[in-house]
């Protein structure tokens, strides 16, 4: 019996749903976007939209660049020069490429305080602490990894990262963008004040999240309950929209660019629109050691840590944060 019980167990996972308004002083939206550092996939969906505005299109095309460098010695990320050039002059992000966090050593650079505090180290490069850290990275066989890097700054020095790591064959990459429109799309009816839904009147936040996954996975949304292949259908109540715009950006995307996208999507409703809401979803790298800030992220049967905004036309929003088994609770 114990074996049977164990076979039916699944690791725990959490979905946190909250609602607020972008105009509230205490709204956490900006903080939560900015502290989710390693983002792999950003997508948004706009019902009743067939063409993207110029402002949104520009933002989508400017989410990069990011960089890829192979066999970079780890000690290069703690040198005085690196800290002064990048860490102190903007937000620098790094994550080892193709290291599975449940199997391999993984390294991540966070833009602020890290367990080896680079800002603290740089104050005294002759300190025993710095020497010890530097020695441990260089001694005998220097640790080397393939890295994804990104640097957000307000200056005009575009290719500083390229010239700095040129001896390591650094490559500049642009995120991949996929744009499409869906016709006759069944969309759930939502009420911004009803996070849990209202029977017969509005769908709940978890139902919306499932539906969004179905749309971006190209699943059928209108199966009959007795269909042999699939019984999944759009949550009810729902409406059919003539057109919906879908956009997906994949790469190593910095939080600052996501914040700009979020703000632009909020401005979508500055003019009257048919759409009652739009969504913005962000998925983190499965092998990032952190989810939000320094909250631990792990990989059990899956490495999901993602969040989704539903932005309503009255500036209300829903925020859903989802994590898996080996994760700290979302903030």
């Amino acid at each position: 019996m114990a074996t049977l019980r164990r076979l039916r167990e699944v690791p725990r996972h959490l979905l946190v749903c909250e609602k607020s308004n972008f105009g509230h002083d205490k709204s956490r939206h900006r903080h939560l976007v900015e502290t989710h550092y390693h983002n792999y996939r950003v997508s948004f969906l706009i019902p009743e939209c067939g063409i993207l505005s110029k402002e949104l299109k520009n933002l989508v095309m400017e989410t990069g660049p990011y960089y890829f460098v192979k066999n970079l010695p780890l000690h290069e990320l703690i040198t005085h020069e690196f800290i002064n050039t990048f860490v102190k002059k903007g937000s620098c992000y790094a994550l080892t490429y193709h290291t599975n966090i449940d199997e391999d050593n993984t390294v991540a650079l966070l833009p602020n305080v890290v367990s080896i505090d680079l800002m603290d180290l740089s104050l005294n490069l002759d300190s025993k602490k710095y020497e010890r850290v530097s020695w441990s990275f260089k001694e005998k066989k220097p640790l080397k990894f393939d890295f994804l890097l990104a640097w957000h700054h307000t200056g005009a020095e575009e290719s500083r990262m390229m010239s700095y790591f040129s001896s390591y064959g650094i490559q500049e990459r642009q995120p991949r963008v996929a744009l499409s429109t869906a016709s006759e799309l069944q969309c759930p009816v939502l009420r911004s004040g009803e996070l849990g839904g209202a029977p017969g009147a509005a769908c709940s936040a978890p139902e919306l999240l499932d539906w969004l996954g179905a749309v971006f996975s190209n699943a059928q949304l209108n199966n009959e309950p007795n269909n042999f292949v699939s019984t999944y259908c759009c949550p009810q109540p729902s409406t059919v929209v003539a057109k919906a715009y879908l956009c997906t950006i994949t790469g190593f995307i910095v939080p600052e660019k996501i914040r700009l996208l979020l703000e632009q999507l909020c401005r979508y409703f500055d003019e009257p629109k048919l759409a009652p809401w739009v969504t913005l979803s962000v998925q983190g790298f499965a092998d990032s050691p952190v989810s939000w800030r320094e909250n631990e992220h792990g990989f059990r049967k899956g490495g999901e840590h993602l969040y989704n905004f539903v932005i309503f036309n009255n500036q209300d929003y829903w925020l859903q944060m989802a994590v898996g088994a080996n994760d700290d609770c979302p903030p």
Binding site: L7, R8, E9, V10, H13, L14, L15, V16, C17, E18, K19, S20, H24, K26, S27, R28, Y40, R41, S43, F68, K70, Y97, H98, N100, L148, Q171, R173, L195, G196, P206, L209, D210, L212, G213, A214, F216, S217, N218, A219, Q220, F228, V229, S230, T231, Y232, T248, T250, S281, Q283, G284, F285, A286, D287, K301, G302, G303, E304, L306, A322, G324
Partner: protein, 116 residues
Amino acid sequence: TSRFRRAKQEPNVNIPGVSRAQGVASAGELRALAESCKERDSGRRQVDAALPLDILTYEEKTLSAILRICSSGLVKLWSSLTLLGSYKGKKCAFRVIQVSPFLLALSGNSRELVLD
């Protein structure tokens, strides 16, 4: 603001099927195959085999599918498909790529990012 938490109950499984002999040609066949796996591995007890299973997507080009099953059936489905070695007399293999309770997580897989 208000918040609530919910532990999701329905893991989704992203499975590409490698079928060298073009065994599985449609979502319907995949569904029938998955059902027969469960039936076989539960010792042919019809009651145990009757777990609701949905083939949410099936892509013939890549021979990959997204399956949805309730959480208590995940281990049974996963092990059944893993142990399946042939279909209609021809060798085949299933590889589970991603498992998640959140369907949105299955629309992208950072482990598939290829840069070199």
